[in-house]
């Protein structure tokens, strides 16, 4: 399968600067975005370190785990383990920088990262930035938010609807940079032709309901248009926060090859 990807980011209409960062690299097989924690403490520095450190760490191809790392991850494959280790490195770098530079004390960031190998999607994340799968015209959230309200839902204390309107929505239970080590969630799923993936910061999902996100993904002719329309819609609906999206769409190689030689039969190719 072949994957097209596009990203779009915007500081929104209210915030003075954009504290989100992202990186897409097909060569490295990496799609990552990070949302710096808001407020005075240099969120933009934290998120920039996060994506930079993850990309650099994957480049180094060190196979042994960092000290105190979750090197044993039997539930995911090596590609995804490398991603987890890279995020551990990023966490350490943000924390170290925050200790080193007093103006950065307390800074932190979320992260959500994906790698695609064949039809296997590997995901790793910390915080409330999300990965969604778009399949059969339905949006499915693949990551579990590390936020207080999400934990309340998981404990049966809140319904989804209550969580969506809670005032405590932005209270996180995990973020990069807070401590020397961090618990990173990782998972893998199998992808099917026709699937789309969306990585996004909460600036999208706070402004745009999932049904609308799905509608945009369904009708957009390509990933670039989809990414731009999503960001545009977030701003249309208020733009209260920075917003970043990465849209990834798959198509089967054979389809593309055949379509190239038989363009008139494109829609009939099985």
């Amino acid at each position: 399968m072949h994957w097209d990807a596009a990203a779009c980011t915007d500081k929104g209409l209210i915030r003075p600067i954009n504290e989100d960062s992202y990186r897409i690299s097909q060569e490295q097989n990496l799609f990552v975005l990070s949302d710096g924690l808001g407020g005075a403490a240099k969120g933009e520095v934290a998120s920039a370190i996060a994506v930079e450190a993850v990309a650099a760490s994957l480049n180094e191809r060190t196979s042994t785990g960092a000290q105190g790392s979750f090197a044993t991850r039997p539930e995911v494959s090596e590609d995804t383990r490398s991603l987890v280790r890279a995020i551990e490195v990023a966490n350490r770098k943000i924390h170290d920088e925050a200790m080193r530079d007093s103006t950065c004390r307390g800074m932190g960031a979320t992260i959500v990262a994906a790698r695609i190998s064949g039809r296997r999607l590997g995901l790793a994340h910390v915080g409330d930035s999300r990965a969604y799968l778009f399949r059969a015209d339905a949006l499915e959230q693949l990551t579990a938010d590390h936020s207080l309200v999400a934990e309340q839902v998981r404990h049966g204390l809140l319904t989804h609807q209550q969580a969506a309107t809670s005032e405590l929505q932005s209270v996180l239970t995990r973020a990069l940079g807070m401590e020397e080590t961090v618990e990173i969630d990782a998972d893998e799923i199998e992808l099917f032709p026709g699937d789309s993936l969306l990585l996004c910061s909460d600036g999208l999902t706070r402004m745009v309901p999932e049904a609308e996100i799905g509608a945009i993904l369904a009708q957009a002719p390509d990933v670039r248009v989809a990414a731009e329309q999503l960001v545009h819609r977030a701003n249309e609906r208020g733009g209260h926060d920075n917003v970043t999206v990465i849209v990834i769409r798959g198509s089967e190689r054979s389809k593309r090859w055949i379509a190239k030689f038989f363009p008139w039969g494109r829609s009939n190719v099985i």
Binding site: L37, G38, G39, A40, A41, T72, P74, E75, V76, S77, E78, T80, R105, G106, M107, G108, R119, R120, L133, R135, A136, A138, E140, Q141, L142, A144, H146, L148, A150, E151, Q152, V153, R154, H155, G156, L157, T159, H160, S170, V171, L172, T173, R174, A175, M178, E179, T181, V182, E183, D187, E188, I189, E190, F192, P193, D241
Partner: protein
Amino acid sequence: MPILIVKFEGSVLKKVLTNGGPITIGRLPDNAIAIDNLAVSNRHAQISSEQGHLVIKDLDSLNGTFVNNQRVKQSSLKDGDVVMVGKHSIYIDGNDRGEVPASDVKQPAPNAKEARSVDETLVLDTEKRRRLMQEIAATGERSQIAPSRIRVATLVRVKGRIEEAEYPLTGKLTVIGKSEMATVRLRGWFKPKVAAQISRRDDGYYLGRGDKVPNVNGSPVWAPILLADGDVIDVCGVQLKFTIKE
């Protein structure tokens, strides 16, 4: 003889006796312990009895076999050891206690500090979080916090051309379809790759359509719906019962 207790997230899936020949572990359904996970090889590992004790051998799996969190090619197994393959744990119960030691799957330990900047985003430390959750619980109907993980559900075959009698829903997404990688694999010429899918969310399991519209208890499912214990799912000539213990 020791018993192997196969667990997923605190739920016991099955118990396997070790009194016979080698016990194979892998992704293919014909393994004695079949584990449906992308990180598990078709033939992943094997547990056998050698000279009166248990031995596990990794069968050149892609992602490794782990005993007590260490990756091994081959290792003897004793009472209390934990083998990890994919997201599943296999406990060695040598004394036929039928129980599993308390040191179970590692619990997530959020160790975040509170951010200095008290602006839009706060990060709670563990103690604050626990206190806050208890306060919230006390004001609601429940007087204590329910366990955070939802139980593992199972699909039980009622009728139709599928391989297994039961499918534990241990993944984030369970696809019912023709693909050889689908969990519930449909046979037949005209079956779609993704007929329907079940997703495991924070508040339970949801069934959604794929290329086909499934029925639940006779009603078509156009948008994902939360499944309840005993619900009967019909899709592509296959009927499955959804079971989940509270």
